[in-house]
């Protein structure tokens, strides 16, 4: 089964210790004071779980992107 990768962009840099809290997503702090949480999310329920954690921290949410696997990867996968 193809696993779904997501990138979630929030406002404000986050310490690496938050990674465990966000189900092991990788935290990358980028320019303009934004952070990107990225990694494999098992399903929609898990995705919403993460979004709710973001809501409950009052962390401003900027974007949620589904990362399309490369076409080559798809071919290999099949």
């Amino acid at each position: 089964m193809a696993e779904d990768k997501y990138q979630i962009r929030v406002k404000g840099h986050l310490g690496q210790e938050w990674s465990v809290w966000f189900d092991g997503l990788t935290i990358t702090n980028v320019e303009q004071g934004e952070a990107i949480l990225s990694g494999v999310v098992v399903d929609q329920a898990a995705l919403f779980g993460i979004l709710l954690k973001i809501r409950d921290l009052g962390l401003p949410l900027l974007a949620v992107n589904h990362v399309e696997p490369h076409r080559e990867d798809l071919k290999e996968g099949k």
Binding site: V10, K11, G12, H13, L14, G15, E17, W18, V20, W21, N29, Q32, G33, A35, K53, R55, D56, L57, G58, L59
Partner: protein, 1028 residues
């Protein structure tokens, strides 16, 4: 397994073997010296005994008995080990049984308990109903308070913003300042059970006025499948008639609600809100309500993040006056700017700045950082705390709410209360939940940060913390919270221990969803390892309409039972499983299997399981519906069972036994007695609204509807059948036989009212339903026969003849048992019509023989209801055969049988032919002229236009001088005479020098005995009977 004492013997497991010790022997006392707990069970109650250290710390060990009832724990001191004799332990259960209305043979049958004996509020946490206490010094936000005040003009106030914007504080401040008395509810995630949610709503409304919602609450807990709409309708009704002005209801933290039925309930409340209700919702995300529509109608006032942010002036007041800092105005503006007015951020910044000399350095570092404000500052603040505070914060953050003793258990220290007060004083995001400084919670944001930190630093301690919290909650009687923490600790054995004694009871009282979610969280092996828990799981599955899953669960139980099935425990479980299967069989219309299973259950269940045994006995009543045998000597045991069930408080079972007794009486042709039996439900639940809202009531509405139909009270019959149909729509769990009564009576009603097409559609709908639910074929056959009969009455002889041919029935058939009777009476009607048309006297002669035999069988087993219909048909056949004199003679017998009971429809449904015969009978100068007149009028009302206008026969019926089966007592006669004078209950109470409640009871007894529904009818009926 917990060691258990039962039948004077201790059963436990040790060294891989089952062990037994007789209570009171030296072995028993030796065992007690090493044991920490055991369970004690007898016919009165069950309790868990625990060995505990005496609280004064000087004494040695003592035993205490814990007894859980509706989630509330009772504690009784048992004494030292040497005091634990059998007599003493038995005496304790009697004390428990007396203090608890329902002996906690925690194994109630698959039905509900009467609402009156329960106190569901015990399951609720009072702290959730308090407006959080305000801190002494606050920023006064007058412009927002003004907005809120204006919002009171509309119906909904929505405060929607992320965490940390001061929603709760603002609302508390507004309510305190304005002096508005509000009902407050702080929601938490375990409130996602609609029944629990509504219980809380009602509980909080009752803090304003204890009269609000009492009826709705009763209904909510009356059974496991109460339609929420009915509860809400009653509640809004209560609010609408609330006379003390406005009712303000605040729901804080609504974002935790995820259950769809709760959103729907809320939408209903908003949509149907009476003008008295103001709803205030504080939430982190917008609720799924039609907000746009409410906005357009001007009924919605919103406060959102933009309005809630601190303006620089407010930040200034906050930092100086609330947080006690001395900052330059530039510093304030910088902070407000960098936190974007986020109050939680400003508070963290202020905490970091406390006692720091280098303000400029801090500000530069803070504003220079791109880090998320919460992340950056909470780390700063945390690092500044002494180690003891850090450790306290980190460990107690797993709690939703905390109190000193709970923190002590968690920290294994004694300074919980001191720590909490110190943290509160330091303004470290602690919210005080009551005025007594007993319960607190961390601000949600701060709790999140702490939990993330705990998870990152020492995740291994988390289960142990939850375990300790669970133990504390259990010992203090908060079982729901104890279960939640045990689940968080993944301590499934503990969850199982906790839910075994109370889970089924909770589900029966409405919290099916909560209990089901607990069971679902348990790994299968944990459930399977415990027979009793397993059978409770099956019960809860059945209560939640999961019939297929219930069957799988039952199979699993039977599969795992030991080969040796002779032990009491195994027999008990088998007995309970048999009752569940008997109930399932019933939903499929397989009455005979249901009876067989119930009889098996009676053999298996120990005498101590009184409630389950009663449930089995109620099931066995159905045997008579199969055999058709209603001789007084055959059914004399039934009234006694009905009385026992009614006394047991097992409401749904009581209801169903009453309906069955009424059905038996109808089979006996005793319409009036059947109606009086139906009235007995009023003694169970006097509140009409509650009664009408209970799904199990459908069967009752149907049978009473049928009785009223037979008496030609079409208006009342239609009302009852419609009510029953509405209730069946809400639940799948209804006895298939009751559904037949409902659908066939509805079809007959529609036919009588000239709604011919609808009558056939009703029967077709039943047949479709019966096929979907796999009802037994005889049920479908029976309804198909009625369908043919109705088509015949509509003049469609061809269709009816087709049915007769397809049915394969003949007048010579030998098996005329009760199950087939309906088909043969339909067949005879078809033959009468064919005989009349084609002069086929052979068919008619055959019919006559068939009717003779049917009548013999009916009379042999005292089924006079059937005998009446057969006599009527015989008269009609004889009439067509030209045997006028004989026809009149037979009809006379029918009239004699029918008159005392007020039957009308069995004659009227036969139409014009019957009308002619009745006229002839009248011409003979028959004594019952007025009754015959009534029957004639009903027969002639065959055309639709006049049918609806026919007054119900109840009013037109002749005076029936018949002694009451259950005569009125002297006191009831006194009450009746005063009633006749128009006295109110209060006046009667005064005259007779008794309590009003006593008068009410007498009045309802009088109604039941006279088979009437109100005072006017009672007086009229009493005059008819010459009692008055």
């Amino acid at each position: 397994m917990i060691p258990t004492v039962e039948n004077n013997t201790l059963y436990y497991h040790e060294n891989g073997r089952d062990q037994q010790i007789t209570v009171g022997t030296s072995d028993w006392y030796a065992w007690l010296a090493t044991a920490t707990s055991f369970r004690f069970r007898n016919e009165h109650a069950t309790f868990t005994a625990r060995r505990e250290r005496a609280s004064n710390r000087r004494g040695g060990w003592y035993w205490k008995a814990y007894h859980t009832q509706e989630g509330k724990r009772q504690r009784i001191y048992l004494g030292k080990a040497e005091d634990l004799t059998l007599d003493h332990l038995n005496a304790v259960t009697q004390t428990l049984a007396q203090t608890t209305p329902m002996t906690a043979s925690s194994t109630a049958a698959l039905t509900a308990l009467p609402a009156a004996v329960r106190a569901p509020a015990n399951l609720l946490l009072d702290t959730k109903l308090h407006i959080p206490r305000l801190r002494a010094s606050l920023v006064r936000r007058s412009h927002l308070i003004e907005r809120l005040q204006q919002g009171m003009e509309g119906s909904l106030l929505l405060v929607s913003a992320p965490a940390g914007f001061g929603k709760t504080t603002l609302l508390a401040q507004w309510l305190t300042e304005s002096g508005i008395r509000a009902a407050w509810l702080s929601l938490s995630s375990e409130d996602n059970d609609p029944v629990r949610f509504l219980s809380y709503i009602i509980a909080t409304l009752q803090t304003l006025d204890s009269a609000i919602g009492t009826t709705a609450l009763t209904l909510l807990h009356a059974s496991a499948s109460t339609p929420l709409k009915a509860v809400l309708a009653i509640l809004t009704n209560d609010l609408a008639s609330h006379e003390r002005g406005r009712v303000t209801l605040v729901l804080d933290d609504y974002q935790v609600v995820t259950a769809e039925p709760i959103h729907r309930a809320l939408a209903y409340l908003v949509e149907h809100a009476p003008s008295q209700l103001r709803l205030v919702i504080a939430t982190r995300s917008d609720p799924p309500l039609p907000l746009a529509r409410l906005r357009a109608r001007g009924q919605l006032t919103e406060l959102r993040a933009a309005e809630l942010r601190f303006a620089p002036s407010e930040a200034n007041v906050f930092l100086h006056e609330v947080m006690g800092l001395d900052l330059s105005i530039e510093a304030v503006i910088t902070l407000d700017d960098h936190t974007e007015g986020w109050i939680a951020g400003l508070q963290l910044a202020a905490l970091s700045l406390r006692g720091r000399a280098d303000v400029v350095g801090f500000l530069a570092a803070f504003t220079g950082s791109h880090r998320f404000v919460l992340d950056y500052l909470s780390e700063e603040v945390f690092a500044q705390q002494p180690a003891s505070v850090q450790s306290f914060l980190l460990h107690t953050c797993i709690l939703e709410r905390m109190t000193g003793p709970l923190c002590n258990t968690l920290m294994e220290r004694e300074d919980g209360q001191v720590m909490l007060e110190a943290i509160d004083k330091a303004n470290l995001f602690l919210v005080s939940l009551d005025d007594e400084r007993q319960w607190y919670r961390y601000h949600h944001l701060f709790a999140q940060v702490l939990r993330a930190r705990l998870q990152q630093t020492t995740p291994t301690v988390i289960p142990e913390l939850h375990h300790r919290a669970s133990r504390w909650y259990e010992q203090n009687g908060f079982i729901i919270e104890a279960v939640q923490h045990a689940l968080s600790a993944s301590d499934f054995e503990r969850v199982a221990d906790l839910i075994e004694p109370i889970g089924l009871m909770m589900a029966l009282q409405g919290q099916v969803q909560t209990v089901l979610s607990w069971f679902n969280a348990l790994p299968d092996p944990v459930i399977y390892a415990r027979l009793l828990l397993n059978v409770y799981y099956a019960s809860v599955l059945l209560l939640s309409h999961n019939i297929e899953a219930c069957i799988v669960c039952l199979q699993e139980i039977e599969h795992r039972l030991p080969v040796d099935r002779s032990s009491v425990q195994v027999r008990r479980v088998l007995g309970m499983a048999a009752i569940l299967r008997a109930t399932i069989a019933l939903y499929r219309g397989d009455g005979s299997r249901s009876v067989t299973l119930a009889q098996q259950a009676l053999d298996l269940l120990p005498e101590t399981e009184q409630i389950w045994r009663l449930s089995a006995r109620v099931h066995t009543i159905r045997a008579h519906f199969l055999s058709g045998d209603v001789r007084p000597t055959s059914i004399d045991w039934v009234p006694e069972v009905v009385t026992s069930v009614c006394r047991s408080g097992d409401f749904l079972n009581a209801l169903s036994s009453i309906v069955m007794l009424a059905r038996l009486q109808m089979m006996q042709g005793r319409l009036r007695q059947a109606a009086a039996t139906c009235e007995r439900v009023k003694q169970l639940i006097p509140e009409q609204q509650v009664f009408e809202g209970i799904a199990g009531n459908a069967a009752h509405s149907f049978i009473l509807g049928e009785i009223r139909y037979e008496q030609n009270d079409l208006v009342e019959s239609e009302r009852l059948i419609t009510q029953g149909m509405r209730l069946t729509g809400e639940t799948l769990l209804i006895d298939a036989r009751s559904l037949i009564v409902g659908y066939t009576t509805q079809a007959r009603l529609q036919q009588a009212l000239g709604k011919h097409e609808q009558a056939l559609e009703t029967l077709d709908a039943f047949i479709t339903l019966a096929r979907e639910r796999h009802f037994l074929s005889w049920m479908i056959d029976r309804v198909a026969a009625l369908r043919a009969q109705i088509e015949l009455a509509q003049g469609n002889l061809a269709a009816a003849a087709h049915w007769a041919q397809e049915s394969g029935l003949t007048t010579d058939d030998r098996d005329l048992s009760y199950l087939h009777e309906r088909k043969y009476v339909a067949l005879v009607r078809v033959y009468i019509a064919q005989g009349q048309k084609d002069h086929k006297s052979a068919l008619l002669q055959g019919s006559l023989q068939l009717l003779y035999r049917l009548q013999q069988e009916a009379e042999r087993v005292a089924r006079m209801g059937s005998a009446l219909e057969i006599l009527i048909l015989r008269a009609l056949v004889l009439d067509v055969l030209g045997e006028q004199q004989q026809a009149i003679h037979v009809l006379e017998q029918a009239v004699t049988l029918a008159k005392p009971e007020g039957y009308v429809r069995p004659f009227a449904d036969e139409g014009k032919a019957m009308g002619r015969l009745l006229t002839q009978l009248q011409a003979t100068g028959h004594g019952a002229q007025r009754y015959l007149q009534t029957l004639l009028a009903a027969c002639e009302a065959g055309d639709p236009a006049s049918a609806e206008l026919t007054p119900p026969v109840k009013n037109a019926s002749p005076k029936l001088l018949q002694p009451l089966i259950d005569p009125l007592s002297q006191r009831e006669l006194e009450v009746l005479r005063l009633l006749a004078e128009g006295a109110s209950n209060a006046v009667i109470a005064e005259q007779l020098v008794v309590a009003t409640s006593t008068v009410k009871r007498h009045v309802s007894n009088i109604f039941a005995k006279l088979a009437v529904g109100n005072r006017v009818q009672a007086v009229a009926r009493a005059r008819e009977l010459a009692i008055l």
